[in-house]
Symmetry: C2
Subunit: 194 residues, 2 copies
């Protein structure tokens, strides 16, 4: 299990933008659910905005649409099989916390639980649902972020389809003359960034 | 240089969803430009829809908004320094193809060029600009995709902020009982997928 401490909201993009598989937790009428998700992007640094596509055939879709809250939990490679298992079952019939022996931890700002076994957890509220009807696209605001500070370079997993996952590899350092603009919220001024 | 052949549109999500840094090429009044981007997500399998955030302070923003066309080129680690250099300069003042010795290749369906040195290139047209004003968020449709078929497991780079990049690591195989649904266009039914 990961021992988590608070993590700066302004750094949340560093956890998400390279596309790790996340486990989305939701809670509705006392029922907790977990769903793997790979289709997400950062949209703003601070407050961190995360856009994501969740299919309307998913049990979590209705819950997120109704409760407007979720937690994005970031697993490491040790949880890879559990991630796939969570994707192969539906919260309609399965209590995934129980079935896959994951540990729910009470969140600070939302009803959905953090997953103790994940190295980072981001408490989110739906900020804009304008494109939900057309694209199943939710814009979430991360209101509280948690990370295990003891974990350096966590081996996140990145879905590549057909049951294949890329495991995060080595880190490359390319000092940039724009580093001084690290706190500049405009992605345009942060290489290599839109 | 990569020798490219056509790549199935239905497989495009496998190139993008794990969050590689891409080089966005645009063309306006004969002026070609290149911009690194990390803020993108898959939104549909086929036709492939890709959402992305491009800051309105970027030279490429106006060009994309006006021409409604771009190419998403996916570089490998060999181009990492070039990617940062492209992010540290502006197309307003720099001819990036010339300055960084990249080779433009004529696209099939758009005016923007493919980058020969990138292992994959996706020709895109803006399909929905509804959230451009509020979030600088474009929804692109990939109309033609190119890839170098000789490259297996290309070492893509994944920006993690502050001049750090994760280089794609080993591949993990986790056969899933949902593989038979690989062609199902609903992300909900594809583990681990929203």
């Amino acid at each position: 299990m990961m021992k988590k401490t608070s993590f700066p909201l302004s750094e949340v993009y560093r956890l998400l933008e390279s596309g790790p598989v996340v486990l989305v937790t939701t809670a509705r009428a006392g029922r907790a659910n977990i769903m793997p998700m790979s289709w997400h992007l950062m949209m703003e640094f601070e407050p961190p905005l995360v856009g994501c596509v969740i299919s309307d055939r998913n049990y979590s879709f209705e819950t997120l649409k109704t409760t407007k809250e979720c937690v994005l939990n970031i697993p490491t490679v040790e949880l890879a099989k559990t991630v796939v298992d969570c994707g192969n079952t539906s919260g309609r019939r399965t209590d995934k916390f129980k079935t896959f022996e994951l540990t729910p931890v009470a969140a600070k700002s939302v009803k959905a639980s953090l997953i103790a076994e994940c190295y980072a957890s981001l408490e989110c509220k739906v900020r804009d649902g304008k494109l939900v009807a057309k694209y199943n696209f939710f814009i979430l605001e991360v209101v509280q972020a948690w990370i295990d500070p003891t974990l350096k370079r966590p081996p996140t997993i990145h879905h590549q389809g057909e049951g294949e996952f890329m495991v995060a590899g080595r880190i490359l350092h390319l000092p940039s003359k724009m580093t001084s603009l690290a706190r500049n919220k405009n992605p345009a001024r942060r290489p290599p960034r839109p």
